[in-house]
């Protein structure tokens, strides 16, 4: 291949889906803004804007899941734990700063200006009163600082993923064993956080996160659309980043690891290093998504870390279509919105005469069974529909690709 052609095939030209995705996301954001209560015609309620913003965050964590599972072939059942950890880290600052405002206001009534010790004591009693403590645990050392906690949003899940991944990949734990191990990690973390003396308020979790400190005059209408914009921006940025990561040589190597790890190792690549990088990167992205999600949800508690949450993440990605980034986004958006529609009680019940199917009760059954059906009959998921559409335009090629690029020979062609 000459130098000329290499330049011609720029990143965007090789990945037309990125432009399409950004365009659709921008139009969607604009549309929601125009229809919102804060900046538009108030067609969409604030709570629905929040739902959409949360959905965008879920799409972002699904992107991360797609990278680790669809591209690198590691079925991690722990990424929702990183997501929730990110939420916890930001939530610590939110609840601290908000309580600080309240405590300072209350102490100012007392006649004397409050000392820093009094303020800190007051905050500690306010926050930890529910678990019967009145002292700040050491892990709250940075809670007074926004940038400190923002650093922890990235650092805590990142370091956890780094250490766990290093231990797991180093001892060549692969396949289902790794899945079960990540699930065990998630369970351990959830059980730990459920304790009252974990320092994060046990099963009460952190609440009132929708109120931003210093912005008590700003209405939730405005806040919700700001968070929506932030989520849309994060999703767009995450999509571009991940598309870039998977498009180059790095992408080829991780796909090769997915397809045959041993062979890649024999070719001299540090398989563990690649896996560790992908695992940590996706954990950090998941954490950022979580940090954007929970201020919109308003509350976080250890139930969010339950292993089942990570399984649902895998379900979204599988239904959307693994191994293609837009597939993960479609799956997460489609299934989570459908899920909130069904479980919200707005879906019409189906009377069967002898029994009425009430979707609040039967939605999970439908989800579970359709998941089985997708696994069995449509491994490409919803994203596979785009292949049908592309098949009309491109030559209809049969057989499995023999190389990572679209232009590589395929089985039947090679035989000719």
């Amino acid at each position: 291949m000459t130098r000329q052609t290499f330049v011609e095939r720029s990143f965007l030209a090789k990945n037309p889906s990125v432009l399409w995705f950004i365009l659709i996301l921008a139009l969607f954001t604009l549309g929601v803004t125009v229809l919102s209560e804060a900046y538009g015609v108030a067609f969409i309620s604030t709570s629905f804007v929040k739902t959409l913003g949360k959905t965008l965050c879920l799409c972002l964590v699904a992107l991360a899941m797609d990278l680790i599972w669809g591209y690198a072939g590691i079925l991690s059942l722990g990424h929702m734990a990183f997501f929730a950890l990110g939420g916890y880290m930001l939530g610590m600052w939110l609840i601290y700063a908000r309580t600080e405002e309240i405590v300072v206001a209350a102490l100012a009534q007392g006649g004397l200006p409050a000392t820093p010790e009094e303020v800190r004591q007051g905050i500690a009693v306010q926050i930890f009163g529910v678990v019967g403590a009145s002292e700040f645990p050491p892990i709250w050392a940075l809670a007074h600082s926004f940038w400190g906690q923002m650093f922890l949003v990235v650092a805590v899940p990142g370091v956890l993923a780094l250490v766990f991944g290093w231990l797991a990949f180093r001892s060549r734990v692969t396949g289902v064993y790794l899945s079960i191990l990540t699930q065990a990690m998630t369970l351990a973390l959830a059980l730990y956080l459920f304790q009252n003396d974990s320092g994060l308020r046990g099963n009460n979790g952190l609440s009132g996160l929708q109120n931003l400190p210093g912005l008590s005059d700003v209405s939730q209408d405005d806040l919700s659309i700001w968070f929506f914009w932030a989520s849309a921006f994060a999703l767009g940025a995450g999509y571009v980043l991940l598309a870039w990561v998977v498009s180059g040589k790095f992408g080829s190597v991780i796909r090769a690891i997915r397809d045959d790890e041993q062979r890649v190792r024999f070719l001299g690549y540090s398989v563990e290093g690649y896996k560790l990088f992908v695992f940590t990167l996706t954990a950090v992205i998941a954490a950022i998504a979580g940090a954007l999600y929970y201020p919109q949800a308003g509350i976080i508690n250890p139930a969010e870390l339950a292993p089942i949450a990570s399984i649902y993440l895998a379900v979204w990605v599988a239904i959307g279509g693994r191994g293609r980034l837009y597939g993960a986004v479609i799956g997460a958006a489609f299934v989570s919105l459908l899920s909130s529609w069904f479980t919200g009680g707005r879906a019409p019940s189906i009377p069967l005469g002898f029994y009425t199917i009430n979707w609040v009760d039967w939605w999970l059954v439908l989800l579970g069974l359709s998941f089985v059906a997708v696994t069995l009959f449509a491994p490409k998921g919803i994203g596979g529909l785009f292949d049908l559409w592309q098949g009309r335009r491109a030559p209809d090629r049969k057989g499995a690709a023999l190389g990572p690029d679209d232009s590589s020979l395929q089985e039947k062609e090679a035989l000719k």
């Binding site: 072939g73 079925l75 007392g110 006649g111 004397l112 200006p113 409050a114 000392t115 820093p116 010790e117 009094e118 766990f164 231990l167 797991a168 180093r170 001892s171 060549r172 734990v173 396949g175 289902v176 064993y177 899945s179 079960i180 191990l181 699930q183 065990a184 990690m185 369970l187 351990a188 973390l189 059980l191 730990y192 459920f194 304790q195 003396d197 292993p307 089942i308 399984i311 895998a314 379900v315 599988a318 009760d361 039967w362 999970l364 059954v365 989800l367 579970g368 069974l369 359709s370 998941f371 089985v372 696994t375 069995l376 491994p379």
Partner: protein, 661 residues
């Protein structure tokens, strides 16, 4: 709690004992005149009885109790119960009972004595202290009651709430006790009371030492109060009469704050200024927007507040507060010790050595109990995991719906109990039925789903997750979210008790037996049957097995059904002690996989070892941190993650070709 003190002088005491003994010896109708009748005693002390005080009435009650008059017990009981009255006219005592506006009268022997208007009779109302004395006096009657059940009840009530006053009646009743069991109980109780309440130090020490390293909870309950301590601070020598337990070093055995609080509480030092008090004092002394010359706006730091308070102190407007230096000096000037509440050093040292011996023995017993607990937990894990050992260990199929098969087994047991109320029969039917139901479910799942995914293990995992979600929700829709009872037959109630420390419930023994039965069944099936041979052949090399005339499809189906069926039986058994909810399975699924993975895939002994390790580990961690089972589970999972680092193939790893990949 009323504790009547014995203020009796020695002489009265001896007299009382003598008379008591005589009374008991002569406790036959017609001969009970030695000390006069109850009526005489009451009449002699009429004014006291009418207006009793706790201090003065005691001899009268004792005389009544010791009179030997068969009606004394009735009279005393009636008196305590406001059933004794005094006729105003002539001062005669009657047993009275309200009936409308009149009293029904009976004389003290119980014979009917007509009625009287309310105004003619004074109802005697002893106060709580006197009632306590009467109740104590009544104890000897119940302790010597001819009915053994009454005696046993009296013993139980004394043991529950021992008092000093019970000791003498108890000793007195020992001689006449005929029932050997009750006699042994009485003797034990007598010694327990002796070691606590006897006035003779040597007798108490002897009683303590007589027990040796007895494990009874009652003994520990009696010994512990003897060793209760309190903290005191003093200067110079130890105060007279105090029984030193140990010296306390401030900063090591007790914090400086605690030490100073002790001094403050004893009035030996001025109180330290708390933040709130300082704040209140400052607020009270704001003059022209400043306190002690410091402007209010600057009082936002502790340092500025201290400055302002010191200024007030100098001006004399607030009392001086102890500074840190004064606190340190006060602590240094005093000696802090722990003293026993019990003043007799011989008794406390005997009690201490006895308790130490008991603690040692209890520790050993607790270790044994812990081992039993661990074995029982291990057998539960083994039972939950043995089905997985077949589907995952032998066939290498990840079945995340395994937990839901356990749940289905438990619900099968519940449904059977709805129709068959005899619990023994229902459990006998439920076990094979649970097997049948989950076997069918397993076969259906293998045929419909898993068969298509043998080459794609990760997707098997996902598909079975989907099934697990659906099954759980279906169970929730059918049975609701609240826990359903699965009752064990009566003969499984209760526990095998070795002593007060070591015990194990029969259900856990049954689970252990069941786990062992399944282990033997598995071994027999795999090693001794045609099916086992074919299963092993198909696992090792399906195409070779197929060319030998084995149908791999059929074998896979049967194996998977078998694994699922065993999960169902495990569920019916687990449901006997766990709550049957739709989440029952998911509580066990991670632990079950851990058991199989830690033990080593493909080897039943490995599964057994894994279950033993995890069971022992969890109980061990719970023992180190007993308040927190959540933490125990967390640390156990962390340990397993680390364990897999060092033995990725588990405790018992397959070697060679059998290991696959």
């Amino acid at each position: 709690m009323i504790r009547p003190p014995l203020f009796l002088p020695q002489g009265v005491m001896r007299h009382f004992l003598l008379s008591l003994a005589t009374a008991l010896l002569l406790a036959l109708p017609g001969l009970a005149q030695a000390q006069g009748t109850a009526t005489d005693i009451l009449n002699e002390n009429r004014s006291l009885v009418e207006k009793p005080t706790r201090a003065k009435i005691a001899p009268v009650i004792e005389a009544l109790a010791a009179s030997g008059d068969p009606v004394a017990a009735t009279v005393l009981a009636a008196w305590a119960d406001k059933g004794l009255g005094l006729r105003k006219a002539d001062g005669t005592f009657f047993l009275i009972e309200a009936s409308g506006d009149t009293w029904l009268l009976r004389d003290l022997t119980g014979a009917d004595a007509g009625t009287a208007p309310k105004s003619d009779i004074v109802e005697l109302r002893p106060n709580a202290g006197v009632r306590g004395l009467i109740a104590t006096a009544l104890v000897q009657f119940t302790l010597s009651d001819p009915d053994p059940e009454t005696r046993a009840e009296a013993l139980t009530s004394i043991a529950r709430d021992p008092e000093e006053a019970h000791l003498q009646p108890l000793r007195a009743s020992l001689a006449t006790e005929t029932d050997p069991v009750l006699k042994a109980q009485k003797e034990r109780l007598e010694r327990l009371l002796t070691l606590r309440f006897d006035t003779d130090s040597a007798a108490r020490v002897a009683a303590i030492q007589g027990f040796g390293a007895d494990l009874g909870l009652d003994l520990r309950g009696a010994l512990n109060p003897l060793l209760a301590t309190s903290r005191i601070a003093f200067t110079g020598d130890l105060p007279e009469g105090s029984n030193l337990a140990r010296d306390l070093v401030p900063g090591k055995d007790l914090s400086e704050v605690e030490a100073y609080d002790l001094l403050v509480a004893a009035g030996m030092a001025p109180a330290r200024l708390t933040v709130e008090e300082a704040r209140a004092a400052l607020l009270a002394n704001i003059v022209d927007g400043a306190v002690g010359g410091v402007p209010v706006a600057e009082l936002g730091t502790q340092e500025a507040r201290d400055r302002a308070y010191t200024a007030l102190e100098v001006a004399g407007t607030v009392p001086p507060a102890a500074t840190d230096a004064e606190v340190a000096a006060a602590i240094a000037a005093h000696r802090f010790v722990e003293v026993y509440e019990e003043p007799d050093p011989a008794v406390t040292s005997a009690a201490k050595s006895a308790l130490d011996g008991i603690t040692m023995k209890v520790g050993a017993m607790q270790a044994a109990d812990l081992a039993l607990d661990a074995v029982s937990l291990a057998s539960i894990y083994f039972l939950a995991a043995i089905g997985l050992a077949i589907t995952f260990g032998v066939m290498r199929v990840i079945n995340m719906a395994h937990g839901e098969f356990i749940m289905m087994g438990a619900y099968t047991g519940y449904v059977v109990q709805l129709f068959i109320t005899n619990y023994t029969l229902s459990i006998l039917i439920a076990l094979p039925l649970a097997f049948a139901v989950t076997f069918a479910a397993g076969v259906a799942m293998e045929r419909l789903v898993i068969r298509h995914l043998y080459k794609r293990p990760l997707e098997t995992l996902l598909a079975t997750f989907g099934i697990s979600i659906a099954l759980q929700q279906i169970a929730k829709n059918i049975f609701g979210t609240q826990a359903r009872p699965l009752t064990a037959p009566g003969w499984l109630d209760g526990a095998l008790v070795f002593n007060d420390v070591v015990s194990i419930s029969y259900i856990r023994i049954a689970i252990f037996v069941l786990a062992m039965v399944f282990l033997l069944f598995f071994l027999w099936l795999m090693k001794r049957t045609r099916l086992g041979l074919e299963v092993r052949a198909v696992t090792q090399n399906p195409s070779m097995a197929a060319s030998m005339g084995i149908n791999p499809d059929r074998i896979n189906m049967l194996t998977f059904g078998l694994g699922s069926g065993i999960a169902g039986i495990a569920g019916a058994a687990i449901g006997l002690f766990a709550k049957v909810t739709s989440e029952l399975g998911s509580d066990y699924i991670v632990q079950s996989f851990m058991t199989v993975v830690v033990g080593g895939v493909g080897n039943i002994w490995g599964t057994l070892a894994g279950a033993a390790l995890i069971g022992a580990l969890q109980k061990g961690i719970e023992w180190l941190n007993p308040s927190n089972t959540l933490a125990a589970q967390t640390y156990m999972i962390l340990f397993i993650i680390l364990f897999i680092q060092f033995r990725p193939r588990g405790i018992i790893a397959l070697k060679g070709r059998a290991a696959g990949d």
